[in-house]
Each structure stands twice: as structure tokens, then as C-alpha cells.
Amino acid sequence: MKLEIDIAVERSAFALRVAARIDQRACGIFGPSGAGKSTLLGVLAGLVRPTRGRVVLDGVVLDDVALGIHCPVHRRQLGVVFQQGHLLPHLTVSANLQFGYRLLHADARRIGLDEVVQLLEIGELLERSPRTLSGGQRQRVALGRALLCSPRLLLLDEPLAALDHALQQQIIPYLCRVRRQIDIPILHVSHDLGELLQVCDDLLLLDRGAVVGHGTLVEVANQAATIPLLRMGGMVNILRGEVLRHDPSARITEVALLSGAIIVCALRQEGPGTRIDLLVRPDDIALSVGRVSGISLQNQLPGRIAALADAGDRILVTIDMGLPMLAEISSRSADQLGIAVGAPIHVLFKAVAVSGRS
């Protein structure tokens, strides 16, 4: 996918100005509420007309104000999942799923109903009315409906914001599955950084109507200006790995990361060999210059300091351990440790500070 955006939306009380090129498989658009995330998605979907500028997706001009081009919503071939789902209340789940699918030429259909039903596990719901669905079921059906439109780009507009935290954690694996198994690029808008980091490769940071950062978490985290924003959104390290073995007596599970390092976390349900994502918050991490003995912390991993970013009273440290990891420590600790870019360091955290999901 290649998406070129260079647009401005000007209203009396609000202005959005975005220029970006997005070519990642899955890009997360992050920012606090009021940053203009949903307006940007509205422009891409064709629901909001930009005041100036152009939008080009894979060489197709969707909007060009100067040339007077505006491709109407129904001709954009995008899939959109809204915060409230917006299922058609007078149709069954099955008819909702097939609403866009039926409008496509047979040879334009790239995904079948059975595939989507299986992927999202919504087979039980097909004959039900949307009014009888729970929030999580509703969002899965809305995701399925968008996928069945065989979109060139999938737009997710705060798809989990209307759900409680436990439900969000249940839906995220479905988003990850879609990302892994279906060849459709994703733009995912959220004010929850943890959610985005689990689904997306890249982040586009918006604040008060302007782009303030674009890149991987580690890349955007090394700009001092973006750290408060990231911290507010719930910054988290995502470590991809595979379950190695369980020790039920010690109530721990060992996970091998892609870099080869082994991490200990609280006992998991997943069997050995299962792929798993581990989540560690940067402020749950301690740093030490050498290995420490006689300490309760289960995880001690060697690495090298790749970057330092000053966020006032706190320092955000990027550590290269074969994969990048962010740690947040106080300026005082940083002074005492005398850390500098390039220096070797050990990353320490408790087994219970690691959460995860398969």
C-alpha cells in the first residue's frame, strides 16, 4: 500500500494539517482526543471534505481540491469500522456482513463469507438481529462487514473505544489475526497506545491538528516533545516470542524472544511453541550497569544503550537487546548510573510486570 496524504481541514474552532506518506502494512494513528484523528480518517473515508490538499491511494486520486476531484464515499472501496459499529438495525447479522459483499462484482471479491465467519468466530451470530449483540460481538460483525467489502484499505476508527478493558483485550487478538492472515493494509485510529502497538508496525502521532511524529515506537519515542503524549496514551514495550516451557510449581512460564533472550513471566495457559506477545511498561523496568545478584527481579537481560531522550524529570532510555526496548528512569538515577549512548547496560524487571497474549 502507498498512501499519500497532504491535506488541511479548516473549521472555525479547529484546524487539521497533515502531510504524510504511509506505506506500512498497519499504521496506527495516535493522539489525545481532539487531536484530529477521526477527522483525518473521515477525510480518507470521503465523509469529510478537505479544505485544501490531496489524498492519493496506490496511484488513485481520492481527493484533489485544486483539481476539484472528490471521489464519493461509495466509490472509494475502503472498509470502515466505526466506534459504535453502526450495523444496519433492520437486517440480520448475515445480511449486514453481506451488505457490501453483494454490491461487488464476483471477480472483485477477494474474501469469502466463510473465511470471515471463521476468522472472527461469528458463525453462531449469523441469524441474530444486531440489537441482540453484545458490544464485542457487534464490533466483530462490523469488522467482518468491512472485510467483506474487499477494501483496498481498512480504516479502524477507535474500534474498541466503546468497550471495557477486558473486552478490548478479547477483541485485539481478532485484529491481530486479520492483520496476519488477510492481505489488506490497515489504518487504525486510537487514543490507546497499547492497543495500537499490539496491532500496528508504525505510528503516526497527532496533537492539536498537526503531525508530531511518524515511525516505530522507538523512533517516535526519541523525540522529547512526543514523550508526554506517549506516556499519557499508555506506552508499552511489545516483545514477540514463543512459549518455551512452564514451571507450575514456581508458577512461572519461560518465553524465548525472537532475539534469543529468555524472559520469565507469570504462569500462562498457552502450550509450548505458541506464539505470544509480551507487554512490559517502560516504567516497570530498572537499569543496572552490571549483573546483580541477590535480588528478587527474575529478568536480567544484557543490552546496550541506543538512545536517550530527556522528558523533564524523567529520561526515556532506548536499549538495544537484539530488539529495541524502552525504559523510563528518573533523571537522578540516570546521573548516578552515569549512562551514555553506547554503554553496556542490564535491563531488569519482575516476572509479574510482564503481561501477555497469544
Binding site: 473515508a45 470521503g46 465523509l47 464519493p72 464515499v73 461509495h74 466509490r75 472509494r76 472501496q77 475502503l78 472498509g79 470502515v80 466505526f82 459504535q84 453502526h86 450495523l87 444496519l88 438495525p89 433492520h90 451488505f99 457490501g100 454490491l103 461487488l104 438481529s129 444486531p130 440489537r131 462487514r145 468491512a146 467489502c149
Partner: protein, 229 residues
């Protein structure tokens, strides 16, 4: 059970009201949608014109229709010359009067029914690739159906009861414009018309109750289909 005169009055009333409803249904839905969903210059004027028959004395509306559609007007002459239709002082005049008087009630009901539909649902349908006309036909119209039905029943009832405008444009001609209310008024003027008035009043009440019952039954079926149980 019904005498020939009564049967003629009843059938004429149903014919006039039925034709009037058919005549106003499509423009009524279009106007209701336009007022609910579109912003355009002169919207307030359109709104006022649609609602005018509701506030004008019916006799005034009837007289204005007579001026507009009578032989001496350009429109009346055109209808006479091209289609061979004479509107004034026959049953077509009664249909025109009933349609104009019932129209605002239908439009109001349609407008309300469309205004309460979540526009985000219509937008979601558009993102799935549905063109505006398809969104209207497959989302807006079905969701507004109970309200449209209610408006149609209200409009039909108003047509059945139309008196002032009807008698002004179409007069009181048996078999042409002597509908139920006109006939009741006429018999009420006669010294020995009481029995007939009573029979026609009962007929009138009967028709209204049946119309109400049919609409209730249809409304339940539509709601059941929409999953609103």
C-alpha cells in the same frame, strides 16, 4: 344492508381518498426526506408552502385550487386541452382537494420518521459501496417505514374527512363530489334527514376504525420485520 345511495357515497369517498393517497405518497416521501436531510436555499419557503393547508381555512385552500385548476387558468386549460381532464366540479377536483389537505400530515410524519434515523448508519452503508439512492432504498426507507405508514393512515383519514376545500372546488354533486362529510352536511340541512345522517355517521366511524385497525396490524408486521418486536 346499505342502500344504493349510501353505497354510492361510501365508494366515492374511498375512491377519492384512495386516489388522493396514491397521488401524494411519492411527493410526500420525497418532500419529507428533503426537509429532513437536505439543506438548500429556500427550504423555509418550501416548508411553509407544504404546511400552508394546515393553517389556512379549508375553504380558502379550495378556492385557491379552483383558481389554479379551473378552466380559466393556464394549468386548467392545459389539463383540459391535452389530457381532457376537467378538475373543477367533478370527482377529480375532490381528489385534488383531499390530496392537498392531507399532504402536510403525510410530510410531517415522514420527516419525523427520517429525522430519527441515525445518519451514521446511512454513512456506514455508503462506506460499504452503496450509492445514495441505494442507501435510501435499502436503509432509510425500510427504517422509516413505520412512520411513513402512520403518516399515510393519517393522510388517508384526513382525505376521508375533507369538507371545506372539497365543496368549494368540486361542489356537492352525487357520484362526483358528494363524499361522506358533504353528504352528512347536506342531510343535516333537511328537516327529515336525521335518520340518514345517523346512518352516514355510523358508516364514517366504521370506516375510520377499520383504517386504524389495518394500520395497526401493518405497523406490527413491519416492526416485527425490522426486529423492533
Amino acid at each position: 344492508m346499505l342502500e344504493a345511495a349510501e353505497r354510492e357515497i361510501l365508494l366515492l369517498s374511498l375512491q377519492v381518498a384512495g386516489c388522493a393517497l396514491c397521488l401524494m405518497l411519492v411527493p410526500g416521501i420525497a418532500a419529507g426526506w428533503l426537509l429532513a436531510r437536505r439543506r438548500f436555499p429556500g427550504k423555509a419557503v418550501v416548508d411553509a408552502i407544504v404546511h400552508l393547508p394546515l393553517v389556512l381555512p379549508p375553504v380558502v385552500t379550495g378556492w385557491l385550487l379552483l383558481v389554479l385548476l379551473g378552466h380559466r387558468s393556464a394549468l386548467g386549460a392545459w389539463l383540459h386541452d391535452v389530457l381532457g381532464w376537467d378538475i373543477a366540479f367533478n370527482w377529480k377536483g375532490a381528489v385534488a382537494a383531499a390530496a392537498v389537505m392531507g399532504f402536510p400530515l403525510l410530510v410531517r410524519a415522514v420527516r419525523l420518521a427520517i429525522e430519527v434515523i441515525d445518519q451514521d448508519v446511512e454513512r456506514a452503508a455508503a462506506t460499504c459501496g452503496a450509492a445514495p439512492w441505494r442507501v435510501f432504498a435499502t436503509v432509510t426507507l425500510p427504517l422509516a417505514a413505520p412512520g411513513i405508514l402512520a403518516g399515510a393512515v393519517l393522510g388517508f383519514a384526513r382525505c376521508l374527512g375533507e369538507f371545506g376545500a372539497t365543496i368549494t372546488i368540486a361542489g356537492n354533486i352525487p357520484g362526483q363530489s358528494r363524499t361522506l362529510p358533504v353528504a352528512i352536511w347536506q342531510y343535516a340541512q333537511m328537516p327529515d334527514g336525521d335518520a340518514m345522517v345517523w346512518r352516514l355517521v355510523c358508516l364514517s366511524i366504521g370506516v375510520s376504525v377499520i383504517a386504524l385497525a389495518i394500520s395497526e396490524w401493518m405497523s406490527r408486521r413491519i416492526r416485527a420485520r425490522l426486529g423492533q418486536g
